[in-house]
Symmetry: C2
Subunit: 334 residues, 2 copies
């Protein structure tokens, strides 16, 4: 392991995983943390899910959202991906001296709006201010707790051969939207972040009775990293078909131009579910009725061979191994 922290240690890709596995897991050795799921499901009377994320997106305002909306949606989605109904959020701010109060108000209003849509309450918080030059405008950390229905067991380690893989929509919109805003790039059709709370979608999926095994929102590191996590945690292989993976025309164009790959692109309003084959088609139909999942697609399946690997049949008909993101594709997009 390196002597110094690199940008890639925070990317959600390989180095980030190494950091967690090598530094934190050995120190905080408990059954909850070691599952490395998005939320910890706690025995606290009822089953309470509890999660946290920091947000350092730059710029803090971008097409389709801002750091406040992002923080709420990210934490709500992390709770929902454990099968929890999100209930309460904490909100902690690190502010650089000199931030316009108008910006702070605008961000706080976004937090409120996104919280109202997701039906969660911000119930506790903190504010720190650091001297100019010691932070970059505004950083937000949210934590959340939610309630998990009895009997629901969703985890990245539950994928089984034969399961189907469903993706809830196009890839890469959030990452390209933030990057184009930051770099002042313009595309013929503008790219907007997909930032959205997915808890209602997940509730509809749970209500459907489909036998869901894994559920995760592919944020930093993209779909490729999420599927690698599932394959590795579950000890299975995952096969996907490139032709089935939805990517918008403008994101595809931007990625080609910039040398990015949509499967590593960051999303903030998409989920990927691994579900028992029986009922997978019905689940897909149900998902497509939700406003945030109209373009849902069955993109692959879980297999017994190639354990721990993700293999993609390309549009050209070849097979290639899809690795976890190594290094950093786009820093500070969340």
């Amino acid at each position: 392991m390196e002597d110094r922290i690199l940008l890639a240690h925070g990317s959600g890709g390989k180095l980030g995983h190494d950091l967690v596995e090598q530094v934190f897991v050995p120190l905080f050795d408990n059954a909850f943390l070691c599952k490395l799921d998005d939320s910890a499901v706690l025995e606290l009377g009822g089953r309470v899910a509890f999660t946290t994320d920091s947000y350092v997106v730059q710029p803090i305002f971008f097409p389709g959202g801002d750091i406040g909306k992002l923080a709420v949606c990210g934490t709500v989605n992390d709770l929902a991906m454990s099968g929890a109904v999100p209930r309460y959020l904490s909100l902690s701010l690190i502010i650089e001296e000199g931030l316009p109060v108008a910006d702070l108000r605008r961000v706080a209003a976004s937090v409120r709006d996104a919280g109202a849509e997701a039906d969660v309450m911000v119930v506790t918080g903190d504010t720190k201010v650091v001297n100019k030059g010691s932070a970059d405008g505004l950083f937000i950390t949210t934590a959340g707790v939610g309630v998990v229905a009895p009997g629901l067991e969703i985890s990245g380690s539950n994928a089984r051969p034969g399961d189907r893989v469903i993706l809830s929509g196009t890839l890469g919109d959030h990452g390209i939207a933030v990057m184009s805003q930051r770099e002042g790039l313009q595309f013929s059709s503008p790219v907007t972040s997909d930032c959205a709370p997915l808890n209602r979608l997940v509730a509809e999926m749970v209500e459907s009775g489909a036998e869901m095994h894994c559920l995760r929102d592919p944020t930093r590191g993209g779909l490729a990293s999420t599927l690698n996590e599932f394959a590795s945690s579950s000890g299975v292989g995952i096969r996907i078909e490139e032709a089935m993976i939805p990517v918008s025309e403008s994101v595809r164009g931007a990625c080609e131009l910039l040398g990015f790959w949509p499967l590593y692109g960051a999303n903030e309003g998409k989920l990927v579910v691994v579900v028992a084959a029986e009922g997978a088609g019905d689940l897909l139909d149900i998902m497509r009725r939700n406003r945030y999942a109209r373009q849902s697609a069955m993109i692959g399946e879980v297999v017994a061979d190639n354990s721990g690997r993700v293999v993609m049949k390309t549009a050209m008909g070849a097979s290639r191994i899809v690795d976890m993101l190594v290094g950093e594709q786009l820093p500070r997009i969340c």
Copy 2:
């Protein structure tokens, strides 16, 4: 209100309160947040307390602790001040590119050690890395959940005339320790941070059966700000006696030299309790048996007049009004 965020907006004093009252409370209008207690006590099957704090202390290592120990103790103490038994923590890091991994390991070990002492588990977390110059080494945000025993109702708004005020030890040690490390100041007897988890102390206080009304750890803004919060939230006056307030010789000397006032000094291992007069003496005896509260002292009482104000009888025998901290005494001490 100012157009721009000032350092003092994060001080825990007047401007910080204004920011919360004017920006956040109107937006996140719910009964939990509006109490402005350290933790939100949630109805989630059992009674679950949930809190968060960000830590931006500079330097990250100081006499008596580091940012990791501070983050755990701060969140554990916030939970304990609601009368909760702290159970689980989240840990979210914002790291500046280039931080030595050895520093990160050292901080993570402190988190583990402090967590072990406080009997809490870190169960979820997040890591973000920002480019060099966009943060200052390492920022940590912890959130925590804990369980509140049935029937326990502790809040800053519960003080009643006749109650006694007990402080658990000397004031200002943490703030002076960090400041002297940062500025390279040396005193004849070195000052060490009082950073400590107080949950066992609180458990012993709860077990004593004393009728505790308010409980809070005077961190940023110091004892003066905490007592003003109690007076204001409860609609009472608070009288304290300067001669009864413990301050170590070295902190007193440093404060005189630097023009600080110990009552505004930051503490990370002290608490102040407002308790019914009957049983207050017994509570004081019980507190003094705990290693973190040996110098506990009865420092004053709650009165019906002077509503919303804190009045101190000085060592010279005069009376003065003790205001909430205005501006920033020492930035980035937590």
